[in-house]
Amino acid sequence: MAKDIENIKGDAKGISALAGRPKWVSGLTRSRNAGPSQIHKDWSGCGFSTSAVHAGTLDDQASGAVGTPIYQGSTFLLGDEQYQSVEEGFARDRFIYTRYGNPNQWALQTKLAALEGAESALVFSSGMAAITASVMALVDKGAHVVASNELYGGTYNLFNQEFPTLGMSVSYVDPRDFDAIEAAIQPNTQILYFEALTNPLLKLVDVARLSQIAKKHELRLVIDGTFLTPISCRMIEMGADIVIHSASKYLNGHSDLIAGAVMGSRKLVDMIWPRLLSYGGCLDPHACFLFERGLKTLAIRMAAHEQSALELANYLEQHPSIKRVFYPLLDSHPDNDLAKSVLKNGGGMVTFEVKGGDSAALSLLKKLSIPKQATSLGGVESLVSLPFNTSHAGFTAKQRLEMGINAGCVRLSVGIEDAGDLINDFEQALAEI
């Protein structure tokens, strides 16, 4: 069917494979393109802020309004090109129904892919929706996964509670113990699943090394990059097959949105897309608008996070009431050599141990006036929480000790507030505990 590609409602590069009237599969002409996107402009030669502001953003053609309008519609007009895309299996390249794709999702996805240096991206209604769809796309009946033993609780619940029901299994290993990771691989292992920076001890995972192991054993490497962002390191370039984010954190950055994102090759993201459709975790257009607006300032936000986090970490490290501080850019961090070689930005997460244990840590939180006691992270405002009564409340004190989470452990997501103000706030709070 000949189509007027100028009027394609969707990605004009996403065309039929059957144009040459083939008689067998060798005559099929369609290859994979980056995207889908309404704008195929290469921003790879530009800096992060330029890409963050411009990539994928679609000025309104009808009015000239600058910025992507909110396409708050659930459905789209159907024509021959939509019917053909469904018949031939390239519906991801056309606008049909917002659960499948929407201009706001595409604008955002194009921006995310540009930032990560990936061919394709998908946005989801939560980080867990992104994780579930991605993992389920990459495993088959009876599959086994090798994962970090310091996983985000939601991911652990997926693996621990849902996987056995589906006849799948997971082995948990120390992300720094490469021998143990290799030893855990079984004949039916299909993916390695790790977090770029662990919670709460901020262990920096060596993505390039994990990629070597994955390739050696014919596995896919999935990295949850939530605690770091492409501003810190581009994990696809380091060898990850798929990078997943809870975009509710740094990518959106304003603690006003729940969203998830996946970046990777077009081939793998196309495999994840049907799971997004089946599991239903699509991101609403209005949420996409908020997310796109937040993402535009990612690079300058991360610079501010890093500046305040590093200054505060240095301050805390010399304070007599603090036992230990974890921040990747501190010389004392166990992964500092790796951090120096792979991180362009240390991020905003700082973990430290207060002398006096959990009660002293609780007291500190009550005395702080700037950081808010709340779960989550990556927002412009500093957020502080204690693993023992939040993320790791399900473990006993002994189990937490075995994991390296000592009494008095505090997880601090440093916002973009001025470092001096944060230091003054900690100074007064620490003086009172």
Partner: protein, 180 residues
Amino acid sequence: MRNGIAVSALSEYVNEVKNDPEQGIAKYGVELNWQSGTRSKVKALPMSVGPYKVSRDFTWEIDEPRQLLGCNHAPNPQEYLLSGVGACILVGFAVGASVMEVQLETLRVTIKGELNLSGFLDVDPNASVPFTEIKYEIEVAGDGTDEQFEMLRQTALKQSPNAMTIMKGADVNGDLKINR
């Protein structure tokens, strides 16, 4: 999707293999464990497509009819062989129809073979051990022309790895491992 085949994804894979032939290498394996008598249990081993593993958590049984000293609890090795050839032809036919934009309504492949068991039993040196002929019939309904269906028949046979393995043969090499 026409005939349930995503020709766009197929096309992308075909062109990926053109650029990177390693992606077209598929490795398979099964493991058979003797149960008792003529009965065995088969487990599909993890396969790989290109440089990536795929979990294959499937098991099935194989047996012989009582007339051939089995319990008739499952299809026998010859039926699995024939079904492997027939399914392979069927896949090629359905894929080819989708590529040629032919909508199928029904598709049935019947495949039959005859063995002279005197060969297996080695009671007649002139009797053949293998099948000497395998006959298939493809019964199809859809919106294709007679010429298109004939082309699909020929192409499905010609491009079928299993049918071509039967027709052209393959080396069978093996080892014996004795556990004491």
